[in-house]
Each structure stands twice: as structure tokens, then as C-alpha cells.
Symmetry: C2
Subunit: 299 residues, 2 copies
């Protein structure tokens, strides 16, 4: 790492995302303006102050020394207590499909659609102790696996816990039964460690087991780690159900792989025999000014 004067940076940094403060601020301001059309209630927060609260948790610190409580003030300030009932989607090992499914807070709400996750999703950050720099390491951050467990999980563990605590009603959990390298459920996962213990006991947990179409299913709802999951959920007093590739999720997978055998739809040749009647008036198109007020049929 090389620092000159107060600037420690490089072009191809595997360290802190460049301009993280301005990206954070922009996202925060945007989140307050543009939740219309989603399931998320408008949020009022002082974004500059929120950045300060976030930053003081890790700036000018050795990333190995971070402890979970460092982010407590941030979680307290940014948490949403009015997340929509019955619409929370937790995920474990299914980031991509879970986020296609949630559709940016329009169909369901994931941690990354909530303010805490939205602000920093995809960003990297770590601090450094030095007298002549801004306390942010833009050059390199330690691999998560090189960090003490406490430091590694400080942010996303606390974020997951906060999110689960504010979830209510029927909560969905999307897991995968076709990953050779990890079971659908493990006590060691973020879900197992932070989310399950933080769910209210009146939550109904509905597990969505995703078995990707091009993979061999290694687990089913009544086998493998799902049995352990049901036990752990019920022992905490929550009710439980599990469904494998429910129709909507199956269709979602079929978008990327429509020729898969399991995607076969019986299509009649439904050609109109008479020409359709069309409205005479063409409406001029007004370009999207606010995507979130839009629906599927207007422009």
C-alpha cells in the first residue's frame, strides 16, 4: 500500500470502494425520494449524519479490531420498524434469484432493499490506523476469511439481525438444494446465526427451496438439512412450512432457461381469427419521469 500526503489510493483498488461516502450519501438521499411503487414506506433520515454514524464505526480502526457493537448506533439510526408484514424475503446462498424475485422491493423486501442493506450493498470498506491519512484504506481490505469471526460478521451479522427483528407475519426464506458446496441450511449461515434467533415467535417461516433446473437436487423439503431447519424453527416456537420450486419461482428460473424440460408450457396456437379492434386514438408517449410510479402497462 502506498500513501502520499493524506491520500491513500490506487486505480484498481481491492480496498474500500472509491468515493464510498458520496455513493452512500447519494443512495441515502435517493432512498428517501424513490420508494414509491415499492412495498417500502417512505423514510426520513439525516443522510449526512447517517454517514458519520456509519463511518465512525470503522474509520481510523484496524479492520481486525472491529466488534459487532461498533455498528449498533448505525443500525439503531437506520432501522425501519414499518417493514411490510408478510412481504419479507430472507435468503441464504441464493442472492441472485432472491433479488430477481423481490424485484427491488416491488414483490418482496430483502435486507438489501431495506435502508441498511441498500446503503452499502456491493460496497467494500475498511479502515486503517495512520496519522497522515483519512483513516480509510482504499488499497486493500482483508479477505473476510482472514478476519477474526467477530470482525468478519460485525456488519452483515448485525444488519441481518436488525432486519429479522423488524420482520413480521409470514416471512419467506429462500435457500438452495443444488449447491454442492453448501447445504440449504446450516446453523453457521447468517440466517442460522443471526436471523432465525431474531425472528419473533409469532412469525410463520415459509421456506422456499430452490432447486436450480440445470443441477441435481441434493435436498428436498423433507430431507437433509431442511429437517434440521424445521426442528430449529419449531423449537423456537415459530410455525414452519416448506415448498420446493413453487410455481412463481419455477417460472422465474424458466426465464433464463425456457427450454428446460420442467419449463414446458402447453401452448395452444391461439391466433385470432378476426383482426383485433383497435382504439382509434393514439396516445402520445410520455417518457418515464418516475419509474416507481409506473406500472407494467403504462409508460
Amino acid at each position: 500500500m502506498v500513501c502520499f500526503l493524506y491520500i491513500c489510493t490506487t486505480e484498481s483498488a481491492p480496498g474500500t470502494t472509491l468515493n464510498i461516502n458520496r455513493i452512500f450519501l447519494g443512495r441515502c438521499l435517493e432512498y428517501q425520494e424513490l420508494t414509491k411503487g415499492t412495498l417500502i414506506q417512505p423514510v426520513k433520515v439525516n443522510c449526512t449524519e447517517l454517514w458519520s454514524v456509519f463511518a465512525k464505526a470503522w474509520i481510523h480502526k484496524d479492520p481486525r479490531s472491529i466488534v459487532p457493537s461498533d455498528f449498533d448506533e448505525f443500525f439503531d439510526t437506520a432501522k425501519q420498524t414499518d417493514l411490510p408484514k408478510d412481504k419479507i424475503l430472507l435468503w441464504s446462498g441464493t442472492y441472485g434469484i432472491a433479488h430477481e424475485y423481490s424485484n427491488q422491493g416491488r414483490r418482496y423486501v430483502t435486507l438489501e432493499d431495506s435502508l441498511i442493506g441498500y446503503l452499502v450493498n456491493g460496497l467494500t470498506w475498511c479502515g486503517m490506523v495512520c496519522s497522515k491519512c483519512d483513516g480509510i484504506n482504499y488499497v486493500e481490505c482483508p479477505e473476510f476469511s482472514d478476519l477474526p469471526r467477530e470482525a468478519n460478521q460485525a456488519f452483515w451479522g448485525g444488519a441481518s439481525r436488525t432486519f429479522a427483528r423488524t420482520s413480521s407475519g409470514m416471512v419467506r426464506l429462500m435457500v438452495s438444494g443444488t449447491n454442492e458446496n453448501r447445504q440449504a441450511y446450516s446453523k453457521e449461515s447468517y440466517f442460522g446465526q443471526f436471523e432465525l434467533p431474531s425472528l419473533s415467535s409469532d412469525v410463520h417461516l415459509q421456506v422456499i427451496l430452490v432447486n436450480f433446473l440445470d443441477k441435481i437436487p441434493l435436498e428436498r423439503c423433507n430431507t437433509g438439512s431442511l429437517v434440521a431447519l424445521q426442528k430449529d424453527v419449531e423449537s423456537r416456537g415459530l410455525s414452519y412450512s416448506c415448498t420446493e420450486n413453487p410455481l412463481d419461482v419455477l417460472h422465474l428460473m424458466c426465464v433464463s432457461d425456457p427450454s428446460a424440460t420442467k419449463c414446458e408450457i402447453d401452448r395452444p396456437t391461439d391466433v385470432l381469427s378476426a383482426p383485433p379492434s383497435l382504439p382509434d386514438v393514439l396516445s402520445g408517449r410520455v417518457r418515464q419521469r418516475n419509474e416507481l410510479q409506473d406500472d407494467f402497462r403504462v409508460e
Copy 2:
């Protein structure tokens, strides 16, 4: 509208999006960092300068006086000449489903996934002439329909033209045949006015006609305005094809409406007879640090 000193603002502004400059800057910085995992090539641009170029097109001006050339410098500065061949998705009257389909530049690239559209998608802006304000009207912007056509279409018309000019190979156009208030194709649409005339003649235009499942189809590929579209496309020397509810798009609609008749999938009861073999080693979960490096099967 009420202005005190240099500040003209209100809590529930139907005018310019509050903090538009910081939202723009954040999006611009983010776009440069986070295109990994999408079909979009990394972009290098001076974001502060880009804001200045954008702002000077409309700040301190009466919105009724804006002309298309005001944004030329912005489009020149922000345009991407390396958009992916065969992956461009144009849309007309289909904002919602087109963007679910493009999946934020992962499956296809829409105007709003390109830098020009990304920076301001969903935002509202207009200027004002006044000596004691910052030239931005945060209180009210004219309805598009109240503006002279030139001013109305200045930004999104030019943006659409710029995007179409940089499209190549097979270009898809998603239109809807189930909207009672507008035909699938009209010469007056943004596509008809700005995109079609700007496509290179070696482009193949593939029309995706979306007939929403809960609506009566008013048009088919070989009827109504689609006939006119084919004629207009071919008279410009482009090749043309049209497909109604192709399988992947049908599946996408079925995600929201899996019980629709047209979504019926023949599902065998595929229960495993023997317990699946599971890997012995549980891999610890590492939370998403960069969503764009992620794929569907890792976390």
C-alpha cells in the same frame, strides 16, 4: 412557490427531486464502480464535470424554453460506444416488464441501464429564471403535456436517439398489444420518433410483442400497428422479425400470475426415492460484499 433567500424548496415537492445533484453524483460514481456482473463495460468519466454539463443545460432556464440541442454536450460526454452487441432492449409502453426482463443490465441493456438513463431515471428536474435562487425549481415542474413538444422531448428524445445510435446487432423492442389506450407501435412514440430513425441499417430489429395474460390481446404480430411497424422498419433497410409472448417473457409474466391458464406447467411428482447424498463439509457463508460479482448459486 415560496423562496426564502437562496432556497426554494418544499417538503412534498412535485418539482425537481430534492438533492438531485448529490443523487446524480452518487449514481455516477457508483456506475463506474459497480458494472461488474452486468453486460456493461466499465466507464470512466469525471462525475463532477458531468453534473456541470447536465446542469447547465437546464438550470437558470425557463423549462418551456429548453430545446433538444441544450443536452447535446451531455449526451456526447456520457454516451457509451461499447454497449454490448445483440443485447440492447428498447421498450415502448412496457417500462415495468422490460426492466424486469433486462434485470439491471444482466440479461439485456435498456436505456435506463446505460449511463445516460441510469443517472436520471425516475428523477424530475426543471429550472427557473430568478436572481435570488439557485436556478432550480424544487416546488413545481410543468407537466410534460403542458410543455412545447420540443422542450417536453428534449431530454428523453435525445437520450433515446443517442442510445439507439450506439446499438448494434440484434436489437430487441418490447411493445404491448394489450393496452387499450395506445397501440403497440406509433410513429409518435419515442421509439418511432427517435429510436427507429437512429438505428443503423445493419441492425436486425426483433419485436417482442407482450400480451399481458389478464388482458384481451388487441394486436398480433401480423395485425394492427405491427404491420405498419414492419413496413417502417424494412423501408429503412433494417431486417425485421416479431414474436408474441416468447417463452422467456411468458415465464416472466407467469412469475406474477402463476395460476393463469397460459402458465400451466405439467409437473410430475418428482420425489427422490433415496435420500440425497450431501457434501460432508459445510461451507461457511460469506455475506455479499459485491453483488455484481455474485451469481445465482453463491452467496
